[in-house]
Symmetry: C2
């Protein structure tokens, strides 16, 4: 077997090409004949299904219920909330014909569903007894992006959008925070991505929100990815859409709203944080298949029986194991299991069996371990999966820390961004003019404001005036 | 408690209004401000999730993998298959603007995805070693319907569409049959709907298919509902989209294709087959929540403890039980559990407990059963759920049989359709002219051809000429 997978450009040679190669070679997604839209292939979709399974359970545990709003929004309905229109109208797809007839009112394909939920709320919420409503939907949305890249930015993408509405400000604030907690924990505990979290600046927050909480990931190349946001709307939308309820004091009031979402982009993050020159590397907790068993010597009954025995006992104990008994050569199977990012490969060969052994191979480190047949296979595998999960997190965290810098002035900022971008910690005066000026350096943007942090200095990294916020900056996808 | 739910029009008074009332009162779906599109509310969506869970497992067991094709289809791509264009073009929604720019080529919202799969196949299938491919996707589709009704017919609906491609005709034929088996079994075993299955006539088959297998349900009012179809395409699409592979003899050949789908319409069928004047009635196997426990006397510790104890032990044993501990009155809770179609209600009251008893109430028959506290609650509940499931099937089958008629001539046909429609068994010559003539009687259509059935007569029900097919006819939704 060759030292590197020849079909994949080395990560350090050309990061962008490496990313595209991994997506293609691992059959995660394919370009479609529809400009800006991708086909999510079975290997990619299986990761999304696993993400859905875990997150959906979390949402439901917190009392949320799933529903489904329409795909299309009439233009007049979208226009009711000024900020939202300004934020989204330039990038929606418009349906203007139904069958052979031209429509009287254009319909846009939902870029997000706040308006549709408000329309629904306005019909169903009358009293404080109808509150809170805790909704979520898993669906596709559409934004007319100019530059697209598989998973990272495409015109259509899959996501979940949570929408909740509450009788009090406090309850809605709590919800906004709670859902950011869910995303943050999911990143750290399941995706093994050491994300950071904070508040968006006024400029970067969601159109129409009072504020936006964000979860930010750092990719291997130091570029940042916004992955998971939670918005507090206050009464902005309920006023625009005239949603009212009678509160406990029998007075009419506008309720308080939140929304929060996370997308198929996470698959892109998994690639860019963990993967390597041999293909995909998946944290065991999100890997649709955790263990591949490769029998070497298909006609040897002992080999075949042991492979089947291992698969069955692992499956019974909640480890998703499968046997690769295809006609390919063992070398090809090994390379393929690496490309696909299967966390553990167990090689069962005649020669090893003669020595009363099998071979375990970790995908993350590619380390090979000869293991005696006397071990408890379930326990050993489960421990190894846990070790891989933890080691992947530790390595990603070390990389993140290595690429986390502090800037005291604009020159520092420039030096960092010209040498090796990453998360840049710097103080900010709160003035959008400074944000704009920093953006001139390679498009660097504020990622999030960290609250309750010890200030680095008391002056703004850009203008030198009095600093108001501790901000993390970076170049974004 | 009133004898009937006042918010629901009696089924025998006005079937259409009764249906709409059940949908509304059970909060299954709501009309949206987007014409022809519905909001699937949490109670309706939970049923769909349960359907997805069960079917998805079946599909995967048979080797299918999930993926996701784009939402939009360029006009030129759709135009490649003549029959498909003719079948669908009059009823698609067209996107003509992206952002503020007019598009050079119109894009339609997928009414179905054969074209997109073919486009994908054409890039990825080269050799017989690449076959078969067994794909499925869960998604939304859009058809510009004129008349719409919640679940039964709406512009947007949710469905799954399976798409498979094979090296041989035999394999594709087998797949077409196998997937119809899955739908048929799902109807009988899970939905408790005694559907019939057969082949569509040339006139009624899917645009572009060589033939279509269909599963047909009979509603309580004798109207039929097509629910689940499986299409054999032969090489029709692979030729149109130029999908070729090198077969085992190293010759170029067009592969063989199938597709099969089932939709949120099934929720409509559940209502119209099983439900009654008190609201929804759900077969236990598809009910998102199987048991509601209503504590009567919220301050009585014994009552509260027993309710919790029952819920916990039922949940541990795989029965989805919950406690209704809201502030509503017991009478209101009883009525609500009936409207929602929860199969079993357990009433835990102070007075009953004093007699060492609790009350079980079946939703399907509304029968009340005093049960001693000494019983094995899990065993009793599981048995009762099974009894309900079986009884619901038996009742639906009796109704179907009662509404199944035989016609020997056109006069019979007219009499039946004017008195009480249902499944009408009658022989047919195979001529579309006769099909057209029968349609003039209240829009009655061929539902399916039953193969290998003993002929009723040897003459066509319409023209009296020699009969070719044993056909079931009916009025459809």
């Amino acid at each position: 077997m060759s030292k590197e997978n020849k079909m994949i450009t080395p990560r350090d040679t050309d990061f962008a090409q490496w990313y595209t190669d991994v997506v293609r070679v691992a059959h995660l997604a394919d370009y479609s004949s529809v400009k800006g839209c991708i086909v999510i292939e079975p290997n990619g979709y299986a990761i999304w299904e696993k993400m859905q399974e875990i997150l959906d359970k979390e949402f439901k545990k917190l009392g949320h219920v799933n529903c489904q709003m329409p795909l299309l929004i009439p233009e007049g309905m979208l226009n009711k909330e000024k900020d939202l229109v300004e934020g989204f109208a330039p990038e929606v797809a418009w349906v203007t014909c139904g069958g052979s007839r031209e429509l009287e009112e254009r319909l846009c394909i939902r870029p997000t569903s706040e308006t549709l939920f408000c329309d629904y709320y306005s019909k169903h919420i009358k009293s404080h007894r109808d509150l809170p409503k805790l909704y979520n939907q898993w669906c596709n949305v559409f934004r007319w992006e100019k530059e697209t890249r598989p998973f990272l930015r495409s015109r259509e993408f899959l996501w979940q959008e949570g929408h909740t509405i509450h009788a009090t400000r406090e309850e809605a604030l709590k919800e906004t925070n709670q859902m950011m907690d869910v995303y943050y924990r999911f990143h750290h505990d399941i995706l093994a991505i050491p994300s950071i979290r904070g508040k968006k600046t006024e400029k970067e927050k969601f159109s129409g929100a009072e504020y936006t909480l964000t979860n930010e990931d750092l990719m291997y190349n130091g570029v940042t990815l916004q992955m998971g946001t939670s918005h507090y709307f206050g009464q902005n939308f309920t006023k625009a859409y005239d949603v009212k309820f009678t509160n406990k004091d029998n007075k009419e009031e506008y309720p308080y709203q939140t929304s929060w979402g996370i997308t198929t982009r996470m698959i892109g993050a998994l690639i860019m944080v963990h993967s390597d020159d041999y293909g995909l590397v998946l944290p065991p907790k999100i890997a649709p298949r955790q263990v591949v068993i490769v029998p070497i010597g298909k006609d040897n009954e002992e080999v075949v029986n042991l492979a089947q025995n291992y698969r069955d006992i692992l499956l019974e104990n909640g480890v998703t194991a499968y046997i690769d008994d295809s006609d390919k050569s063992p070398g090809f199977k090994f390379a393929e299991s690496e490309v696909l990012g299967i966390p553990i490969r167990i090689e069962v060969g005649e020669r090893d069996l003669a020595n009363h052994k099998v071979m375990f191979v970790r995908r993350d480190t590619r380390e090979k371990m000869e293991v005696s047949l006397d071990i408890n296979i379930v326990e050993y595998t489960k421990n190894l999966l846990e070790t891989i999960q933890n080691d992947m997190y530790t390595r990603a965290k070390r990389r993140r820390d290595d690429l986390t810098f502090t800037a005291y002035n604009l020159e520092d900022m420039e030096n960092i961004l010209n040498t090796q971008p990453g998360f840049i910690h710097a103080m900010w005066c709160g003035n959008a003019v400074c944000e704009e000026k920093i953006k001139e350096i390679k498009g660097c943007k504020s990622r999030c404001i960290l609250e309750d942090k010890e200030p680095i200095t008391d002056t703004c990294v850009c203008c030198g005036e009095k600093a108001k916020h501790y901000v993390v900056w970076g170049i974004q996808y």
